[in-house]
């Protein structure tokens, strides 16, 4: 029987390495699957630049047009909040930065812990709201499949377990940290097989979209 400390060492060592390996190889395979399909050269005479259009859309698609923002305000606003919240807690919590530093050798300034704490709370509340919205909105419920709920769970778990571990709610701290790490490893392992992949492929999609439009002289 493993002790709590041994479990933590295993989770932080071999288990994390395997999870990261699956993540990296899986993501690479998925990206290659797209890239090998390629795209035929456009033989029509260009009116504008495909490359410039593609780059523009990569950037500009981060901002909705005003009418869409009004028509789907809840989706837009909650979407911004939970994405930003997720990345802020991931990238600017001091212990996380230490971890990145030990693995990658790079470091950056952390945000004060109370700020991270508040961000985590906002992110969790927003993600719950996002789920309720998915369950109640006609279009979203109609579109949603098992995977949509699975990736929601995989996204909220690291934030919730991290929050609980930080506040030491319930069992002993090593177990809480262990659960947090397990949730992160699950996220990494499942990532390449699900639509979490959008975090990478959206750059290709936006590029293609903007390039097709830009070639014709349209800013998409």
């Amino acid at each position: 029987m493993m002790t709590e400390t041994q479990l933590l060492v295993w989770l932080r060592g071999p288990a994390l390495q395997v999870a990261i390996a699956i993540f990296v190889v899986g993501v690479a395979v998925r990206l290659l699957e797209v890239l090998v399909l390629g795209r035929k050269a456009d033989l029509a005479e260009a009116r504008g630049s495909a490359v410039a259009g593609g780059m523009r859309t990569i950037l500009m698609r981060s901002f909705p047009d005003r009418a869409t923002l009004q028509r789907a305000a809840f989706t837009e606003i909650t979407g911004y909040i939970f994405h930003i919240g997720f990345f802020v807690t991931l990238l600017f919590y001091a212990p996380h930065i230490l971890l990145f530093n030990s693995a990658l050798g790079i470091s950056w300034p952390a945000l004060p812990t109370p700020v991270i704490d508040a961000t985590a709370v906002v992110t969790i509340i927003t993600l719950v709201a996002v789920l309720i919205h998915r369950l109640t909105n006609r279009v979203m419920r109609f579109l949603s499949r098992f995977q949509d709920y699975l990736v929601w769970l995989l996204t909220i778990l690291p934030v919730v377990t991290g929050y609980i571990a930080f506040h030491r709610i319930g069992v002993t701290p090593p177990i809480l940290i262990a659960i947090h790490i397990i949730s992160v490893e699950l996220f990494l392992i499942v990532f390449p097989f699900t639509k979490l992949m959008h975090a990478f492929t959206l750059f290709m999609s936006r590029y293609y979209n903007g390039a097709i439009a830009g070639y014709r002289g349209v800013k998409s």
């Binding site: 390629g38 047009d65 789907a72 639509k195 002289g217």
Partner: protein, 425 residues
């Protein structure tokens, strides 16, 4: 698997390229595309969510082009697309999508959904699930030369009429002309004034032009139905005629899909670049304006607005030219909300108008256009697509709106400085 289903699946597979794979990988089911689609906004029915219309293509992509999907199918976890499902999707792909591409402009991950609908139709048509109306139009386009069955004698009669009544010259098969004008059947039958308008404008501006008796039809049903072989054949006829007459440029008329077909899809369909330029009539007229060769007099007094045909503006890139032109002949030109690249479709593009089954739905979703028009209280509507025009008229009538619809080329022609007048305005 039936032979037709097999053909369909094969066509789906052929239609999947890098962009399609990337788009499907990226969709997070956020549902924002629904809010960009008039078939959803005007009915509130979630089945009209654009990305949902692509479900057959998505399943083929997943099963054929993803590592995980191939295994899922082998283990029976993912069911192959059936003929019944394609039958179910037929109305979604053809009746409730005009390929207007508005959804492609709002998708936060950048999916070009209209691009995928165009490709989905290749599979649907190959599997025998295209609407009767479009099958008929495509057959007539190939055998007769026009989706509406308009033959050369009908065009010749219109030309004779215009030449005799208005004293115009309409050159046919003039070798070495600068421009070769294409026409849509709808212009020949319903709006011959367009032909008269270009004849007058080109005469005043001293433009050398012609119409080919062998390839005058501009529309391309092959693209609307999704059969690239037909689309390519129709493009090839135009290319042959343009090369025979040795023209510098081919002019696409006031028709959205015709422009898409010849300008953007054309060279790709026949597999080689054109030896001539392709311009939309709006581009030609705006160029004449810039060169000072388009002399007009007087302005329209009533409040006019401009309807951007989707394939010319959002999907085609001709956005500024019609505005420049309208401004020289309109005193009170107002823009509808979301005009330009985000304009709302008339509801009849992408082959919907050739598909009678979709008539009721088309008129229902016209409510979108009504709201847009109501917002500016337009007294006149100008557009640059005869398909838009005829169905805008029908929609306005259905909604008891008394707004005249005109083509921009004619509107310009009405204000031409007459010969002998010589006034510069």
């Amino acid at each position: 698997m039936s032979a037709s289903l097999e053909r369909g699946i094969h066509a789906f597979k052929e239609a999947i390229d890098g962009p399609v794979a990337s788009f499907f990988s990226s969709c997070v089911h956020c549902g924002l595309c629904a809010h960009a689609c008039l078939f959803y906004t005007e009915t509130g029915d979630p089945k009209y969510t654009p990305i949902h219309k692509l479900e057959p293509l998505r399943r083929v992509w997943k099963q054929e082009y993803t590592f995980w999907g191939r295994y899922a199918r082998a283990f029976g976890l993912s069911k192959p697309v059936t003929d019944e499902e394609l039958g179910e999707w037929e109305t979604l792909v053809y009746d409730s999508c005009t390929m207007c591409g508005r959804c492609s402009m709002v998708c936060p991950v950048g999916n070009d959904i209209a691009y995928m609908i165009r490709r989905t139709r290749e599979g649907m048509a190959a599997a025998g699930h295209a609407p009767e109306g479009l099958i008929g139009a495509s057959r007539r386009a190939v055998t007769i030369g026009s989706p509406m069955g308009v033959k050369l004698p009908a065009l010749e009669a219109q030309i004779r009429h215009l030449e005799q009544e208005a004293g115009l010259t309409i050159p046919v098969d003039l070798e070495g002309a600068d421009y070769m004008c294409l026409l849509s059947s709808m212009e020949i039958m319903n709006f011959p004034e367009y032909i008269g308008a270009i004849a007058r404008i080109f005469k005043q501006a001293n433009v050398s032009w012609t119409i080919s008796s062998e390839a005058f039809e501009a529309t391309n049903s092959g693209i609307q139905i999704g059969v690239s072989e037909i689309a390519a054949e129709l493009v090839q006829r135009v290319v042959d005629a343009a090369e025979k007459l040795q023209v510098k440029a081919v002019i696409s008329p006031e028709c959205g899909h015709a422009y898409m077909a010849i300008r953007w899809e054309g060279p790709n369909l026949i597999g080689k670049p054109f030896s001539f330029q392709v311009m939309h009539i709006m581009e030609v007229l705006d160029q004449l304006r810039e060169e000072g060769r388009l002399k007009t007099t007087g302005k329209e007094k009533q409040r006019l607005t401009y309807h951007d045909p989707c394939q010319i503006a959002r999907r085609g890139g001709v956005l500024e030219q019609p505005r420049n032109l309208l401004n020289i002949v309109a005193e009170d030109f107002v823009e509808m909300p979301e005009a330009g690249k985000m304009n709302w479709c008339c509801g009849a593009g992408g082959g919907v108008s050739a598909n009678e089954r979709a008539d009721e739905l088309r008129l229902r979703v016209f409510n979108r256009k009504k709201s847009q028009l109501d917002a500016v209280r337009a007294e006149g509507l100008v557009t640059a697509c005869s398909n838009c025009r005829i169905y805008l008229e029908e929609g306005l009538e259905e909604y008891h709106m008394d707004i005249p619809v005109t083509g921009l080329t004619e509107t310009i022609a009405e204000h031409l400085v007459e010969e002998g007048e010589g006034g510069e305005r």
